[in-house]
Amino acid sequence: MRNVPALLRRELNAYFASVLGYVVIMFFLLVMGVSFVSIVGELLSRGSTQLTVMEGFFSWFWLPSLFLVPAITMRLLAEEKRAGTLEMLMTAPVTDFEVVLAKWLGAVALYTLMWAATGLYVVILRHFSGEQTALDLGPILSGYLGIVVIGQFLIAVGLMTSAMTRNQVTAFLIAFALLFLYLIAIWFGYYFTRGTTAGKIFEFLSAFEQMNDFQRGVVDLRPLVLYASGTVLALFITTRVVESRKWR
């Protein structure tokens, strides 16, 4: 693990040395800004509802996840393979897992950073909400926790697809398809099988249902374990794929 800090630093620099980091963050803030404004507008015109502003806001998490996570991860290993820099990297005294881990950490850091920027919305809400409706910070923090916990797993899946090809577009599309399956298809499965045993499994797996809990302030250990093990599995597979040059 000695080399992870140096590798991670290189990853973070790479995001901001190219336009990619800025473009991703710009799109993210644009989409989230628009949804924030429309949610606030709707609540103001309708008066008080069951939903708080941040709950409405968090429920849009799937949109940037679906599009921006593959955009962040597509480059990571596919580009190294295409440009041949993987050879130079792997012939330094560095293990394959160190490289995979640093790339995952770098992407998670970028993802966390862009979500952290939306913390400004909380400040704005707090400023204008007045004392009688003071914001409850607990559910907001647990909502952010949910965002990061789910996001880091999606990033691990995206990194895995990037290891499988040397074409960034292919990596994007495969990652998009997998994330679509995970986020949307599982939710549909849950929607149509509610009340049955299968429905319970789908409910447990559905990121939307988990996010519902997180943003209400419910931090359940089960999804945490699920995502931790999912990430470990995805990173393990990624490392094996990178190593596959050695047994193919």
Partner: protein
Amino acid sequence: MQPMIKVENLTKRYAGVTALNGVSFEVQRGEIVGFLGPNGAGKSTTMRILTGFIPASSGRVEVAGLDVFENSLEVRERVGYMPENNPLYVDMRVSEYLKFRSKLKGLPRAERKERIPEVLEMCGLTDVSHRIIGQLSKGYRQRVGLADALLAEPDLLILDEPTIGLDPVQIRQVRQLIKDLGKRHTILLSTHILPEVEMTCNRVIIIHHGRILASDTPDNLMKTLHAGGLIQVEVRGPGSEVQAKMRALEDVESVNAKIIEDGYVRVALTPKLGTDPRERIYQTVATNGWTLRELTRTRTTLEDIFVQITREEDEAEEERREQRRSVLR
């Protein structure tokens, strides 16, 4: 003393293709060895195995007495490698890149601060150290790759086609650099440019179709394989008579005469192995009263040897195939 590189019976098969077929060789400490072969001969594959990027299908490969597969990390610490096409992170600045690489190679901070300016100086990169690699010319990029390979003062330098794509001036500079480096490092470099090997290497390994065909000093290869070279003569005289007299000479293997302008005849002679018939040629010309205006011997170059060896191998291969076919019939 333990050899720097020891390769025994190395075979590498990719799906359906045998890239290396029972290759064995050794490189002693302090040698500069040129790996010579046409494209696709197996040079890069051998180097990738030596640096632990890909494993061998079978055979044993040791660097400084360490097995490259079992002690991969230790081997990589001792080897400075410049891969084919010299891949670099083009979005980084030269000094930034070298700093990153020296961290990966485990240089402590103090050593790093000393070593980076040193290699920058050595490779003539000091003036461009703040520039972005992607904006540098190919020659400079090549030197960045070389600087990277030198960072950790490795025992062994493995350079895959270090002069490819450079202009003649840059090629000279890089060759000179390699020669200088050879005083302190063991070097294995690959190329398909022959004068390069003649100029920089103590020993040549010729590889073709995944097999080693020859391994010797450039001089010895030239001596044993094709001593005489060609002798070219231009005389004024009757064409057929000149050809006949030349052919009758001792030590002459074959003659090829051609009439050129003003009654001059150009004769190309191949002498027998290890002989020099130039004196006899002059005497023949003088006794016949012809006018001589040229008598030169072209030295056999490594290039001739290379073409000869690989062609013999190809012919032998063809013969084997032919035999197999006739057996099948």
